[in-house]
C-alpha cells in the first residue's frame, strides 16, 4: 500500500480507488458480510439468552432430529423434483421454440419472441394468483377448457392434491421462465455463422438432422449455461410457492422447498417461534448446494465442453 518505499514514478492513482470504492463497499457490506455472517450464525445457538458456539450441532439437528430433519429432507427432495421438472420440460421447450424462431424464413418473429417472453417479466405474485384462479375448481376455467377438447375427466384440483401440487407448481414456474432458455439458445443459434450452415446444406444435411448434427453440438455451451442458471434459480426459489400455497407450502408440506423451509424456520409459523440460527443453518446448506452445483458446472462441465471459434 505504501507508495514511497518503492521507486514508483507515478503518484498513487487515487482515481482508481474513487471509481472502485462505492461498488466495492456497498457490495461487501450488503452481500459478502451478511453471507459470511449467516455462515457464522449457523454455528451458534441461543441458550438462555446467550449466543453459544455449538460447532456443527445445528446441522446435526437439521439432518438427524426429527423435528427438523423430516421437513428438511422433504424440502430438499421436493426441490430436486422441482429442478428435474425444469430440466425435463422448461429447457427442451426453450430449445424447441428457439430452433423454430431462428429459422431464417420465419415471419412475425419479433411478435412471437416478445409474446413468449411476457410471463417472464411478470412478478411471482401475479403468476401465482393467476394460475391459482385458473386451476380453481370454483371458477371452472380449467375444467371448461379441458371439456372443449374432450378431456374433462382429466381435471382435478391439482394445487390441492398432495400428489400433484408440486408438479403443478413446477409446471407453472416452467410456464413463467421458459422465455429465458428460449432467448439464450436463440442468441446462440443466431451466432452460428452462415458458412457452417451452408456447408451442411452442401452436404445434404438439412432440416431436423441439421439441427441434431450441426446446430445442437454448437449450442451445447449455452445449454450448459441455462442448466446452471436453472439450478441456481430453482434452489433459491421461494416466491411462487409462497404466493400460491402460503408459507406452510400446503397441502401438508407437499410443495415445501428449501426457500419456504428457510422462511418458516427463520420467522416461525403457527405456534413455533422463529429460530435465526436454524434459519442460518438452512441458508448455509442452500449456499453449499448452490456452490456445489456451480463448481460441478465450472470444473466438470464447462471445461469439457468443446468450444468452437469462428
Amino acid at each position: 500500500m505504501s507508495v514511497d518505499d518503492q521507486p514508483i514514478k507515478k503518484p498513487f492513482r487515487w482515481h482508481i480507488l474513487v471509481f472502485l470504492a462505492p461498488a466495492f463497499l456497498v457490495y461487501t457490506a450488503f452481500m459478502i458480510v451478511p453471507l459470511a455472517g449467516t455462515l457464522q450464525l449457523s454455528l451458534f445457538r441461543r441458550i438462555d439468552q446467550q449466543l453459544v458456539y455449538v460447532g456443527l450441532d445445528n446441522f446435526r439437528m437439521l439432518f438427524g432430529d426429527p423435528r427438523w430433519s423430516v421437513n428438511f429432507w422433504n424440502a430438499l427432495w421436493n426441490n430436486v423434483w422441482f429442478f428435474i421438472i425444469h430440466m425435463l420440460v422448461q429447457n427442451p421447450i426453450g430449445v424447441l421454440l428457439a430452433a423454430l424462431l431462428s429459422s431464417p424464413t420465419l415471419r412475425f418473429r419479433a411478435f412471437y419472441r416478445t409474446a413468449i417472453f411476457v410471463p417472464t417479466v411478470l412478478s411471482f405474485v401475479i403468476v401465482g394468483f393467476v394460475w391459482k384462479l385458473i386451476l380453481s375448481p370454483l371458477w371452472g376455467v380449467a375444467p371448461s377448457l379441458l371439456n372443449s377438447v374432450g378431456l374433462r375427466s382429466l381435471f382435478a384440483p391439482w394445487l390441492g392434491k398432495e400428489e400433484y401440487a408440486l408438479t403443478a407448481l413446477s409446471l407453472i414456474s416452467v410456464w413463467q421462465f421458459v422465455g429465458i432458455p428460449m432467448m439464450l439458445i436463440y442468441a446462440a443459434l443466431l451466432s452460428i455463422p452462415d458458412e457452417v450452415i451452408e456447408a451442411a446444406e452442401m452436404d445434404g444435411i438439412t432440416g431436423i438432422s441439421q439441427f441434431w448434427k450441426i446446430k445442437l453440438p454448437l449450442i451445447l455451451p449455452s445449454i450448459g449455461i441455462i442448466s446452471i442458471l436453472t439450478f441456481v434459480g430453482n434452489f433459491n426459489a421461494f416466491d411462487l410457492i409462497y404466493t400460491a400455497q402460503g408459507a406452510l407450502a400446503g397441502p401438508n408440506f407437499s410443495t415445501d422447498i428449501l426457500g419456504t423451509f428457510l422462511y418458516r424456520a427463520f420467522f416461525g409459523f403457527q405456534l413455533q417461534l422463529g429460530d435465526p440460527n436454524m434459519g442460518a443453518a438452512i441458508a448455509t446448506m442452500m449456499f453449499l448446494i448452490i456452490l456445489a452445483g456451480v463448481a460441478v458446472y465450472l470444473f466438470a462441465i464447462q471445461t469439457r465442453l468443446r468450444r468452437y471459434q469462428f
Partner: protein
C-alpha cells in the same frame, strides 16, 4: 444468397407450434384482464367471453382504489426501483471502468470478487441482513431495500459493462488525456455516453427482479407506509380472496405497468440478451 428451399408445410408447422405456445403464454394474462372488467355473475357464468355493455362492471377497480393504497405502493416501488437502478448503474459503471481501463495490482482478483455475486443469491444472507438493518434502525425504510438491491444488482452490471468498456477506443481516451481532461471527466464525458446502449440493457435486467421481488419487502419493509406494489398486491389479494372482482382488478393493476414497461424496452432487453449471451 441462396438458401435451401423451405417447404410450406414445414413453415406452417413451425407457425402452428409458435402460435400455440404464444396462446399458452398470453392466455392467462388476457383472461385476468378481460374478467376484471366484468360483473361478478359474468365472471362465473362465461369466463372466456369478452366484456359486453351488459356485463361491463368496473366495481373491482373501485374496490381496489377505495381499499388498498395502491398509489402509495406504486410510488414506493418506483422510488425503490429507480433509486436502486441509479446506484447500480452509477457505481457499477465506475467500477467497470476502473477494472477495464487501468492495470493495477489485484485487478483480476477484485474482478473475480465482484463477480461472485452473479452466482450466489443475496437472499442467503437474509438472516444477517435483517439483523444488520435492525441494528442500524433501517427496518421498514425504503433505504434498506435500495441498499440491498444495489448490492444485488452490482455484480452482473459490472460484469456486463466492463465487457463493453473494453471496446471503447483507447485513442479517444488518450486524446482526451492530451487535452488535459482529468480521469473523472474522461469517464463521465467520453466513456459513459458511448456505453449508453449497454447501460440501458443492464437497466432492464436490473429493474425486473427488483420490481417483482417479494422476499425483501416482506422481510425488511412490510409496514403499511413502505409496502411495494408486489407486496401490497400479495397482501390485498390475501385479504380479498373471495371478492373476485377486486382480486382480478388488483392483478390487472399489478400486471399493466410491468407490461407497458416491457413493451417499451423489449427491443433493448432482447438485444441485450442476444448480444451478451454469445460469449
Amino acid at each position: 444468397m441462396s438458401r435451401a428451399a423451405h417447404s410450406p408445410a414445414r413453415s406452417a408447422a413451425a407457425h402452428a407450434v409458435l402460435i400455440a405456445y404464444t396462446a399458452i403464454a398470453l392466455f392467462p394474462v388476457l383472461l385476468i384482464v378481460i374478467n376484471s372488467l366484468k360483473s361478478r355473475n359474468a365472471i362465473f357464468r362465461s369466463p372466456l367471453a369478452l366484456p359486453t355493455p351488459e356485463t361491463f362492471d368496473p366495481v373491482g377497480y373501485t374496490t381496489v382504489m377505495a381499499q388498498g393504497d395502491f398509489l402509495l405502493y406504486f410510488q414506493n416501488s418506483l422510488i425503490v426501483t429507480v433509486g436502486s437502478l441509479f446506484f447500480v448503474i452509477l457505481f457499477g459503471a465506475m467500477a467497470a471502468f476502473a477494472l477495464s481501463e487501468y492495470r493495477f495490482r489485484g485487478n483480476t482478483l477484485t474482478g473475480l470478487y465482484l463477480a461472485l455475486g452473479i452466482m450466489i443469491p443475496i437472499r442467503l444472507g437474509t438472516v444477517a441482513i435483517l439483523q444488520m438493518m435492525v441494528a442500524s434502525g433501517l427496518v421498514n425504510t425504503l433505504t434498506a431495500l435500495i441498499l440491498v438491491y444495489t448490492a444485488q444488482g452490482l455484480p452482473l452490471c459490472i460484469f456486463i459493462l466492463s465487457e463493453f468498456m473494453k471496446t471503447v477506443s483507447d485513442d479517444l481516451k488518450n486524446a482526451g488525456r492530451i487535452d488535459g481532461l482529468s480521469e473523472y471527466r474522461i469517464f463521465f464525458r467520453l466513456v459513459l455516453p458511448l456505453v449508453r446502449p449497454a447501460m440501458a440493457t443492464v437497466a432492464v435486467f436490473t429493474m425486473i427482479p427488483i420490481w417483482n421481488d417479494l422476499w425483501f419487502p416482506l422481510i425488511l419493509a412490510p409496514s403499511e407506509g413502505t409496502k411495494t406494489v408486489t407486496l401490497g398486491a400479495q397482501i390485498f389479494i390475501g385479504q380479498f380472496v373471495t371478492n373476485w372482482n377486486a382480486v382480478l382488478a388488483a392483478l390487472s393493476l399489478a400486471i399493466l405497468p410491468v407490461l407497458v414497461l416491457y413493451l417499451i424496452f423489449s427491443r433493448q432487453l432482447i438485444r441485450g440478451i442476444t448480444s451478451g449471451a454469445v460469449k
